[in-house]
């Protein structure tokens, strides 16, 4: 290992608009060719740390700082942002925001254009970078024609056209499905080996990043560095549980089984972990000991889709013969790749589009004759991003909007809104402006605004996208509570933890039809379904195999039941 390329020296930072510092006394050094994961819950300051590395702080965001940050030995305050970007290349979380070109080639060329690089060098370098990440056949594609994973590759190519020495990834997994996320981590690993650049990954999904080797993990909390250790040391320790970061599922399972891990067992990955025979026996024993949870009783059918066919006006058939049944009081998930037909199905349910063939019935009634508004009284639809739904300044008004639009007398509106606010835990904030709420609370407001219309079914698009473990748990426990009160919940998601832990069933869409409809534990252990739906096998299944448990599927199911019980004890 050579000289540090990035160095923080007792650095603290406070944004102008904020009343407390975001970073406290950070000392840290990153050397050439190193691969470092910066990990921590939302609001811990990890993104701010990223801004300090790429120079957005102090050059774009103003604030007070003490101490020093240096890039290749020179203080970032003395360099300008362009000089810093020659050393540090950043791939932002929002791939649509980073993709500023009209086509793949133009986006990759962006930095070179700004450097006035002329042809033929311009075209040559773009092609070389495109080939490096495998998008060379898509050069003339517009961003709208690309998947999230492909857009991210283009962003990476756009950085690689310059020979940077540090690659900084800000939450690279946030918008990707599990299989694509896995491929992204593999690509980052390959690129690092090819270019020898130092890699810094800012991410809270620890298990997914550790899919490939990482030299160090820097764990942050409340603006401070809590740990700067190897992944093995981190996973063997106890710090992680207290930090609001989810540990890998196999580690949790081992702990349930009473196995005490040490760093020299290399627990960072299931490929490297060394379990003694005693450890394995403990896991088997735990499996034998733990009982399966009772099956919930069958309830009447709420929603039935039969042989639904739908094609968009451009001729693309999005659904061909889709059928599924949802029972009252269920909490289930719809999963599948982009383009599998999930969002089309939601649009049909809400009446935004109409199917060309097949029937949709709700509580025994054919929905064909129902308008969008009438369907909304039965099925409530919650968008992924609460900011896309909120139009009122005050929480009360936001929740009341749907009722007022239905011309319900103001007295009744008040009554119903207040009742809903209480159910949703928003009563203490009833007189607050929406803007004062956290992301998770805003999500609650949008759910409350739907619940107030008293639908029997609520349909949620990626309810926890981009949330850390704590917020994820908060939102999901809230949904579970609603479910217990009798609301049927259907979630469209990529999140495997969510499926495993909160969905009674996973309905897997692929290519416009349902290819599997089973317990999540079964779906996430079925190799064929996993690859067709761009999912990832759960590490619990691999752990079961490692410990010689034949019924891997049963093991996964048992783990989930146990954890659910543990969570609610």
């Amino acid at each position: 290992m050579s000289d540090p390329i990035i160095q923080f020296d007792h650095f603290s930072f406070q944004y102008h608009a904020q009343s407390a510092p975001t970073l406290h006394d950070i000392s840290l050094s990153i050397r050439k060719g190193e691969k470092v994961l910066i990990c921590g819950p939302s609001g811990c300051g990890k993104s701010t740390l990223g801004h300090c590395i790429n120079g957005l702080i102090p050059h774009s965001y103003r604030g007070e700082s003490t101490g020093r940050v240096t890039v290749r030995g020179r203080s970032t305050a003395e360099l300008n942002i362009f000089e810093i970007s020659r050393t540090v290349g950043t791939v932002l979380q929002d791939t649509d925001g980073q993709f500023v070109g009209l086509t793949v080639a133009e986006d990759i060329a962006f930095a070179l254009e700004n450097d006035c690089v002329a042809d033929p060098a311009l075209h040559e370098r773009v092609e070389k970078a495109a080939a490096l990440v495998g998008v060379e056949t898509h050069l003339s594609h517009a961003p709208g024609d690309l998947s999230g994973g492909q857009k991210q590759r283009v962003s990476l190519a756009g950085i690689l056209v310059d020979d940077v020495e540090v690659l900084l990834f800000d939450e690279p997994l946030a918008n990707l499905d599990p299989a694509t996320g896995k491929a992204a981590i593999e690509l980052i690993d390959e690129i690092q080996r090819e270019t020898g650049a130092a890699v810094i990954i800012i991410e809270h999904r620890l298990e997914d990043v550790l899919h490939r080797h990482v030299d160090r993990v820097i764990l942050m909390g409340e603006g401070r560095i809590l740990a700067d250790v190897t992944p093995d040391e981190l996973l063997a320790g106890t710090l992680l549980q207290r930090s609001g970061i989810r540990e890998p599922l196999y580690i949790t399972a081992l702990k349930y089984a009473g196995v005490r891990l040490t760093a020299d067992q290399h627990p960072a990955s299931l490929d490297t972990i060394r379990l003694s025979e005693d450890d394995k026996a403990a896991v088997r024993d735990w499996f034998r000991r733990t009982g399966a949870a009772p099956e919930p009783p069958d309830t009447p059918t709420l929603l039935q889709a039969r042989d639904i066919r739908f094609a968009y006006s451009n001729g693309r058939e999005a659904l061909h013969g889709l059928s599924l049944t949802l029972r009252e009081g269920e909490m289930s998930a719809v999963v599948g790749t982009n383009g599998a037909g999930k969002s089309t199905f939601c649009k049909l349910l809400c009446g935004f589009e109409t199917q060309q063939a097949g029937t949709l019935s709700f509580a025994g009634e054919d929905m064909a004759a129902l308008s969008i508004k009438e369907r909304a009284d039965r099925i409530g639809y919650v968008m992924q991003n609460p900011n896309q739904m909120i139009s009122q300044t005050m929480i009360f008004d936001e929740v009341a909007l749907g009722l007022r639009m239905r011309r319900i007398p103001e007295e009744q509106v008040r009554e119903r809104v207040e009742a809903t606010l209480k159910i949703c835990g928003l009563w203490p904030f009833r007189n607050w402006p929406v803007s004062a709420l956290s992301f998770g609370q805003k999500k609650r407001v949008t759910i409350a605004a739907i619940l107030v219309l008293e639908p029997k079914l609520i349909l949620l698009d990626e309810p926890t996208a981009g949330q850390d473990y704590r917020h994820y748990t908060e939102i999901m426990e809230f949904l579970l509570e609603l479910n217990r009160r009798g609301v049927t919940v259907l979630m469209v998601t990529h999140d495997m933890h969510l499926m495993l832990e909160y969905a009674r069933r996973a309905i897997v869409f692929s290519d416009g039809a349902v290819i599997a409809d089973a317990k999540s534990a079964e779906v996430l252990t079925d190799g064929d379904v996993i690859s067709r739906a761009s999912l990832k096998e759960t590490s619990l299944y691999a752990l079961a195999r490692l410990c010689g448990i034949e019924d891997g599927r049963g093991f996964v199911a048992r783990f989930i039941d146990y954890e659910r019980e543990a969570a609610h004890r």
Binding site: L92, V100, Q388, M405, A449
Partner: protein, 274 residues
Amino acid sequence: MKPIFNYIDRPSPIHALTGATKLCCLLLWSFAAMLTFDTRFVIALAVLSFVLLRLSMIRLSDVSFLLKLTIFFMLFNNLVLFLFSPQYGVEIYGTKHVLFGSGRFTLTQEQLFYHLNQMLKCFAMVPVVLLFVCTTQPSEFAASLNRIGVKYTVAYSVALALRYIPDIQREYHEISQAQQARGIEMSKKESLVRRLKSASAILIPLILSSMDRIEIISNAMELRGFGKNKKRSWYMARPFRAADWLSMVFCALLLAAAIILNIHNGTRFWNPFL
């Protein structure tokens, strides 16, 4: 979603011209067509513009919807013109040849000739705009603007607008559907003020989330060196060739001809009634 700008990829000589050339020609041509009402010249322009459309291998069927729209709008506009000022032709040409009728809506040859001129001008302008839109890649448009002297930061604003229109369009659609489910309506059933408030319930989330986007995009651009130099190069820029220069000179001559005609006629109108 259908692309909004109707680029049609065909191997024609018009496609081969650089975007900057086409933009320059469009501007020169438009000014020429705007300046003069000399019927002979306008007819020449209209005929020529259809010839160019043919040359570009754009078929009328490719743009039939837009052409129908043109004709509908043209007729509608002429109807309004007539209703407002049925004797405007007489005023312009200074003579009055009554065809039939009497009173305010007396139909005169002068008025008909005025309408003919208006319609011809429409056909002298619309095909070239169509030609430009159908044969210029949106990507090349920004580079072209910079080439003809627009500051590159402004040219890039145009590129960004073209880049994010589809995204914003999709987002608008999604938000509007979700809000409709909550009961938002913009149809005639509601009063105007209520309609505008309903529209705000869709537009506010759309626009406020776009403001967040501005910050993210500007970070991304800054980190990749935008604004570093006084100039920038363009991946999509192509070098000028002989055909480019010829086209521009030709359009410049058209404009010059229009100006000379106006001076020579002493008016913008060619008057066959005298």
